[in-house]
């Protein structure tokens, strides 16, 4: 299991006995709906994923159980990695677009004053 031996594991993998690599519950510490729901959306957009969902185990525990089940024996780590990459790229695009438009808006505001 990942994260073993460390003081504070950030990510753990939990698998049922005899289950294959395609059915995994990831325990993400210090996360909530913010990452949980957006990552779930990105992973559900992947056609190789049969099921993806998450729960907050208890309101006073700051961790989420993030479940992924894949089709055709693909290890569940793959869609997780792809989902994180996709989400990162989406944010990058949103950031670039937002900054460009804000700069345009600021320039547009300055011009009429001149």
């Amino acid at each position: 299991m990942a994260g073993e031996g460390e003081k504070k594991p950030v990510l753990e993998m939990v698998q049922a006995d005899g289950a294959d690599d395609g059915c995994v519950t990831f325990v993400m510490h210090n996360e909530d709906h913010t990452l949980g729901n957006s990552l779930r959306y990105m992973i559900m957009k992947n056609p190789e994923v049969e099921f993806c969902g998450y729960t907050i185990t208890h309101p006073s525990e700051s961790k989420i159980n993030f479940r992924i089940q894949t089709r055709g024996g693909i290890p569940a780590v793959e869609p997780l990695r792809n989902g994180l990459n996709d989400l990162h790229d989406v944010c990058q695009h949103v950031l670039n677009t937002f900054q460009a438009r804000v700069n345009e808006f600021k320039e547009g505001q300055e011009q009429p004053m001149e």
Partner: protein, 351 residues
Amino acid sequence: MAAPMSNVEEIRSRVILGEFGVKNVHTTDFPGNYPGFDDTWDMKRFQKNFRVDVVHLDENSMEFDMVGIDAAIANAFRRILLAEVPTMAIEKVFIYNNTSIVQDEVLAHRLGLIPIKADPRLFEFKNTGEESAEEEASEIDTIQLQLKIKCSRNPRASKDSSDPRELYLNHMVYSKDIEWVPIGNQADVFADSCIRPVHDDILIAQLRPGQELDIIMHCVKGLGKDHAKFSPVATASYRLLPEITLLETVEGEKAERLKRCFSRGVIDLEDAHGKKVAKVVNSRLDTCSREVLRHSDLKNCVKLGRVRDHFIFTVESTGILPPDVLVTEAIKVLMAKCQSFLSEMNSVDME
């Protein structure tokens, strides 16, 4: 606006406001849900459809449209703005003297909530785990502030005056009385961006002659999810763009009534052959009150919906950082979350 839309397309892209409830709330455009639609994630398609329009921007608030993104991600940005963009706030209050009627703990709480104008990006988080550095305040993670004030009688007050403003000096303690005490090289580093409370006119306590306050405060970097005083926004919210479709022509008295069912500026009356005909001019202004659905003769003339992927964000800053900077910081926080899990997966080889 009244372009006909196939039922499937409507379920996918609109939230329908009905008389007794809201329909099609959830995102359903996932692969395999709709035959004939390719819902697999496509970065190119996203980049083509995504757009941001800034509607309003000033030093304290902004409104912008974010179009072509799912609620899951838009909501992540909103949640991060509220709770996970760091700011500096007063965390430790050392009360050397407090003879005012405000109790120490109440005073400490009031001080904690004062927004401090200091760029949190220039500071580090304070390590709480290390016992050795427990009380040590260093220049990279702490701002030191001082509040030292004493109330006295005004010798120049007229004898028969009963106005406390005239009778006493320093009887109102405002946030402007808080002074910054630089630690280490802070005086040079932050020379041009003087650290102080955002607002000068926050009333902290009222004193009477002889009462005094002598307080040292330590500000640290923190997150809104730890305490609301660290939240960088007064409010951050979004709403979906309302869409009002007239299914048939509405004329005369009915048109007048239809107009009054919506917010001002949503419906306009146009003259056609001597009759007044209702027309939707700006559905964005509507509050989606659904008042029109209470009129039995009007409710079948209109269709009320909201565009599922058109988010109208409103961000109001507390004044510590400009709102556009807050949004960019929020996006960076989500990117950092992704990055931290990716590096975690790479470093710890998951079997």
